[in-house]
């Protein structure tokens, strides 16, 4: 008996010591008073010539053998297949020398560090600032480190080729899950917030999926879980099923994990139109009630606003279940509502959905995807995070886009096609 008790005690102690008590990823911050303070913004005409595939001549421990460089607004992103890694950099130019400061991060772990790069005048700077530039040999040289300290490990990226004609001519939507990333990815901002939406393009996304709930007084808002809990929120005074509270109480008393407030659907869509270049929004309906009429009204209003602002933006209402489909068909002129159906293709046709979105475990389903594309619809696959499957779905599948927690990895495999 004593032996049994001893073994049990040891087991319990092992359990106690094995639990994860929270991870903190210290994201390096670019010093605004550093070198970039003395530079001018990177000219827009130079940006497309920097984009492309680069060979990693030094720094393969972080960047692998090859990387993709892609601009999104004012951020230059680098994508690698190694550990779903990426880098986000701010840039500046002075006297035909380009400076970039930022950080790199492995998305599949918590490893991160500072990154500084430079394009000298003789290694591409002059070409990029030339009046009638057509691109050419570009070399980025610099250093990277681990953690928040400046690093001294050398990195050299040499331009290999621009994006292929296939990539340039075929729109492919890289959709970031939960607005850009989950709380478990430790991105420094919370999932389903305006802050993560802002960062999503730097991770390689050109579209996002966000989760929609409905407050007790009928306000659609962005939140994933059914209840207010410590995974998604900081400790507060409101607990329980979040949809049982009014929007004002939620706004006043719920603070998300990294200090943000929960955005309403209107706030989120308005922010996307005004502050981002995102092209595709997938609204994943998560309410236990029928939110389709009010969400439809908001979506149509926001699409009008996007049109006025000349934004290339699609917003689709996800139909994840038969219940939601049945709610949709009760709405007048439901076939004109932009929807994305996760059910079978008969349901896609019944709802006249613009997009079909099957689960990735069902395979590439190329004949069905092509059939729907011939009908003028599109097809997305969700949610793929495994590098081998991402690569195979991109190279072998015919989907129009992919939902993922690792948009940088999808971006790497897409842009290297």
């Amino acid at each position: 008996m004593k032996k049994f008790t001893l073994i049990l005690c040891v087991g319990v102690l092992m359990l106690l010591s094995s639990c994860d008590n929270g991870v903190e990823v210290l994201q390096p911050i670019v010093d605004p008073s550093g070198v970039l303070a003395t530079t001018d913004p990177v000219p827009n005409k130079s940006k497309p010539w920097m984009e492309g595939i680069y060979t990693v001549e030094s720094g393969s421990s972080v960047f692998g053998k090859q990387v993709v460089l892609k601009w999104s607004n004012d951020n230059l992103s680098i994508f690698t297949s190694k550990n779903a890694g990426y880098a986000v950099l701010k840039g500046g130019e002075i006297d035909s020398v380009f400076y970039f400061e930022g950080y790199w991060r492995f998305r599949t772990s918590t490893e991160t560090g500072v990154l500084s790069l430079q394009i000298s005048k003789s290694e591409g700077g002059a070409i990029l600032t030339a009046k009638d530039s057509t691109g050419g040999e570009i070399v980025l040289r610099g250093s990277f480190g681990n953690g928040t300290q400046p690093g001294n490990a050398e990195v050299i990226l040499r331009f290999l080729r621009p994006f292929s004609d296939f990539v340039k001519q075929n729109k492919f939507y890289i959709l970031a899950h939960r607005g850009g990333g989950r709380n478990s990815d430790y991105l420094g901002v919370s999932e389903n917030t305006l802050q993560i939406i802002k960062q999503s393009e730097g991770y390689g996304a050109n579209g996002i999926e966000i989760d929609v709930k409905l407050s007790s007084d009928g306000v659609p808002f962005i939140y994933h879980d059914d209840d207010i809990n410590l995974r998604t929120t900081q400790k507060g005074v409101l607990w329980g099923n979040i949809e049982q509270f009014t929007w004002n109480l939620i706004s006043a008393f719920v603070t998300l994990k990294n200090g943000e407030k929960i955005p309403s659907l209107i706030e989120a869509l308005d922010y996307i139109i005004e502050e981002t270049s995102l092209e595709f929004i997938w609204l994943d309906l998560k309410s236990s009630r029928n939110e389709i009429p009010i969400v439809t009204e908001i979506v149509l209003e926001m699409l009008k606003k996007g049109y006025v602002k000349k934004r290339d933006l699609q917003i689709v209402i996800g139909l994840p279940s038969e219940d939601k489909l049945n709610n949709l068909v009760k709405v007048k002129d439901f076939t004109t509502i932009p929807t994305l159906c996760e059910l079978d293709i008969n349901s896609v046709r019944k709802a006249n959905s613009k997009y079909w979105a099957p689960r990735w475990t069902l395979g590439t389903q190329t004949p069905i995807v092509l059939e729907l594309q011939n009908e003028g619809r599109g097809a997305f696959v969700w949610t793929i995070d495994d590098p081998a499957f991402i690569e195979s779905f991109i190279t072998e599948g015919k989907f129009n886009g992919m939902l993922t927690n690792y948009p940088s990895l999808v971006a790497y495999y897409h842009y290297t096609r």
């Binding site: 008790t5 410590l230 005074v237 607990w239 009014t246």
Partner: protein, 196 residues
């Protein structure tokens, strides 16, 4: 919280020893009421953490030192009454409160039968119904959820006669889902309503 719960189960199991002398079995009704203080790292200075705590328990008292039973009750965990100013909405007085109703299996033991037979150490685990009520900006809302939880208590009971005893109980509750605790001090009254 689960870690501590497991640890306490192990300690409870390891301390169980059979009692040699025979005695009567009984079923006891135990009722308690008192003060509670909510233990939390909630960073909100206006929250009132003081409240009322009531317990209702039925315990099976066999011939051994270990007793088992079921417990329920009512715990006021915290309340908040403050004026909130929401941008674009305006000001409103908001009231939030939370209480819990536990449903716990109780293990109780007289740990020092020779020295201090009046002292029982209790360990309970089970579920707790957490109820939040909110009132503000012209509307009311409430929500209920279930969490796993446990409690540990020290009870001192002074028999009045064969059937009745009175005493005090110092008890700690833990609520896994909200990662908070609650400390209570209760006056306890027990009644042996069945003996066999």
């Amino acid at each position: 919280m689960l870690k501590l719960l497991l640890f306490l189960v192990v300690i409870s199991i390891s301390t169980i020893t059979p009692q040699s002398k025979d005695s009567l079995y009984s079923l006891n009704l135990e009722v308690g009421a008192g003060y509670s203080y909510h233990l939390t790292d909630l960073n909100m200075p206006d929250v009132n953490l003081h409240g009322f705590n009531g317990t209702l328990r039925i315990m099976w008292q066999p011939e051994h030192l270990l007793r088992i039973g079921l417990e329920t009750g009512y715990h006021q965990l915290y309340s908040l009454d403050k004026v909130i100013n929401l941008t674009g909405i305006g000001r409103s007085e908001a009231e939030i409160s939370m209480f819990s109703i536990p449903v716990l299996a109780v293990f109780s033991m007289v740990v020092f039968p020779q020295m201090l037979p009046e002292l029982e150490i209790k360990f309970s685990s089970g579920v707790m119904f957490l109820n939040t009520r909110g009132n503000g900006f012209g509307s009311k809302a409430s929500s209920s959820q279930i969490t796993l939880g446990f409690s540990g208590a020290a009870t001192y009971l002074r028999p009045l006669n064969e059937h009745f005893a009175v005493g005090a109980e110092l008890k700690y509750y833990n609520f896994a889902k909200i990662d908070d605790g609650n400390l209570s001090l209760q006056f306890i009254f027990t009644y042996k309503f069945m003996r066999y």
